[in-house]
């Protein structure tokens, strides 16, 4: 009887240990459903097999690549995504690690970093960069945080530790480009999301994690943390990656191409350098309207000084709105291009060479 119990325990432990996978050097946690693991593997293989591609200089600048081919692109992702966990992975209790005494870089945290939401769709996760989140919250609390992945303790001394969570949303039928889960078009769409999340593993000081900004007034998504002001942020990179991969798509139908194009334009529409998106015509109308109100109150106070005490606050309010509109007009008339943020990550991390990440991938492919 004891032998039977022992055997059962051994088999259970063995199956649990072997449920996690390591593909191309990337850890794939047992919390990821097997079918998603297989899909992700095929996506990485597809990326790794990208042929040498002619791209514009902007692509090479934002990705900091001189050559654009599968090995380079896979290496770029690998240096930012080392661990992938599933939607059901619990980041609490025994899985959440904390260690005091770590010395974080004495750089400021990004503004509004704890106000942004997760990258989820409804109640399901699409993809989320846990590493960046753990690093930022840890730095804020001055505690080195980490996760227990299988039996390994993975602390996050830099967002480049590269822990990403994938969920059902990444594979949701409603969000697919076409009905074939493993079509080229859907691989490209998922890889765009992977590049987006990978970018959150970069950055330092005020832009560590390349956190999204609030979309400005006049933008379709105004008020949401779904914009960025840099030319090498997550949305820009996602758009560039989609565009590059689309050029190599051999099986993308016109409908597939159109949907991926809409993803590109949607991503790029979130790169906003101005604090507003009003037109010159609208601003001139606003200025004229506010000027009339201000002039009215100023004349009123001249002829009826006793009314000043009741209505002065109104005058001040409209003077403020007039100044704001005038400042927005000046901003509109001043040409601005998105700035390039230093992507160098802060904290302790190690960079893997192209040859090494390729060797890891080749080893997985030969298995």
């Amino acid at each position: 009887m004891k032998k039977i119990i022992g055997l059962v325990l051994f088999l259970t432990l063995s199956s649990h240990i072997s449920a996690k996978e390591n593909f191309g050097g990337i850890y794939l946690d047992s919390s990821i459903p097997k079918v998603q693991i297989q899909t992700l593997k095929e996506d990485f293989i597809y990326l790794y097999n990208t042929p040498e591609t002619e791209v514009d200089s902007e692509f090479k600048t934002v990705f900091e690549l001189t050559d654009v081919n599968g090995a380079e692109l896979y290496n770029w992702v690998f240096n930012r995504v080392r661990y992938i966990v599933g939607q059901d992975y619990k980041r609490t209790g025994r899985n959440l690690l904390k260690k005091k005494g770590h010395v974080f870089p004495s750089t400021p945290l990004p503004d509004g970093v704890f106000e942004k939401g997760f990258h989820t769709y409804g109640a399901v996760i699409i993809m989320s960069n846990l590493g960046a989140e753990l690093y930022l919250t840890g730095k804020n609390e001055n505690i080195l945080k980490g996760l227990r992945l299988n039996r390994e303790e993975v602390y996050v001394p830099s967002p480049r530790t590269g822990i990403v969570q994938v969920g059902e949303g990444l594979f949701l039928e409603r969000l697919l480009v076409n009905k074939e889960q493993n079509s080229e078009a859907n691989k490209i769409k998922r890889l765009g999301t992977i590049f987006h999340e990978a970018r959150h593993s970069d950055g330092n000081a005020e832009h560590v994690g390349f956190i999204h900004n609030v979309c400005p007034t006049g933008h379709a998504l105004s008020g949401f943390y779904a914009c960025e002001s840099s030319r090498n942020g997550s949305y820009s990179l996602e758009a560039h990656a989609l565009k590059m991969l689309l050029t190599n798509c051999h099986t993308c139908s016109i409908e597939d191409q159109t949907k991926l194009s809409a993803s590109i334009t949607d991503s790029l529409s979130r790169v906003v350098v101005r604090s507003h998106l009003k037109t010159e015509e609208k601003l001139l109308e606003e200025i004229e309207a506010f000027q009339r109100v201000v002039e009215f109150y100023e004349n009123l106070f001249k002829t009826n000084p006793d009314m000043k005490k009741d209505y002065e606050s109104e005058l001040i309010k409209f003077q403020g709105q007039l100044s704001e509109s005038e400042a927005q007009l000046v901003e509109l008339r001043t040409p601005k291009i998105p700035k390039f943020l230093d992507p160098m990550p802060e904290g302790h991390f190690y960079e893997v060479l192209v040859e090494d990440s390729s060797e890891l991938m080749e080893a997985s492919l030969s298995r």
Partner: protein, 167 residues
């Protein structure tokens, strides 16, 4: 009495004959209109160098109305907007299908081009979709050899830049 009856019969016969003649005329008129319409279509397809008049009441209006509006995006929640929203993908699917159908059937190309024009000029439609429509106009004008007039005051610099990013 007999005279009255004869008069009545003759009058009725005249009336009947008149109706038949008028109906015939109407049918001829309908045929003429149809012929003229066909002629117009043939003429317009031959006059490929001349921009044709655009009317918002033309076909594919249902599809146009189904495209996502800016107001639809504002109604999404925090979770739904972080990556390309479903409504954008659905709208792109509509645009893509219309393009594909027209690619397969050349007779549908004028209609498709009109759809793209109406799409890109509608300031209420989400800019991601408008940019796709504008890009399609840029690429399909020389390919399908269909010239089209675009109302420049409805296209912002931002829209043009987004459309050009797809080249």
């Amino acid at each position: 009495m007999k005279k009255k009856r004869i008069f009545l019969y003759v009058f009725s016969a005249f009336g009947l004959a008149f109706s038949i003649i008028m109906m015939g005329q109407e049918e001829i008129l309908i045929e003429k209109i149809k012929t003229q319409s066909s002629a117009l279509k043939i003429i317009s397809s031959r006059r490929e160098q001349t921009p044709f008049q655009i009317s918002k009441e033309d076909n594919l209006n249902t599809e146009l109305v189904s495209l996502p509006r800016v107001s639809d995006l504002k109604n999404l929640n925090e979770h739904e907007i972080h990556h390309t929203p479903e409504i954008i993908l659905k709208g792109a699917s509509v645009v893509g299908r219309i393009h594909n159908n027209a690619e397969q059937l050349p007779s549908k190309r004028h209609e498709a081009m009109l759809f793209f024009k109406n799409c890109l000029e509608d300031e209420n439609i989400a800019i991601a979709i408008r940019a796709v429509c504008l890009n399609k106009v840029y690429t399909l004008i020389p390919k399908w050899r269909i010239p089209i007039l675009i109302e420049e005051d409805k296209i912002s610099l931002e829209l043009k830049e987004l459309a050009k990013e797809l080249f």
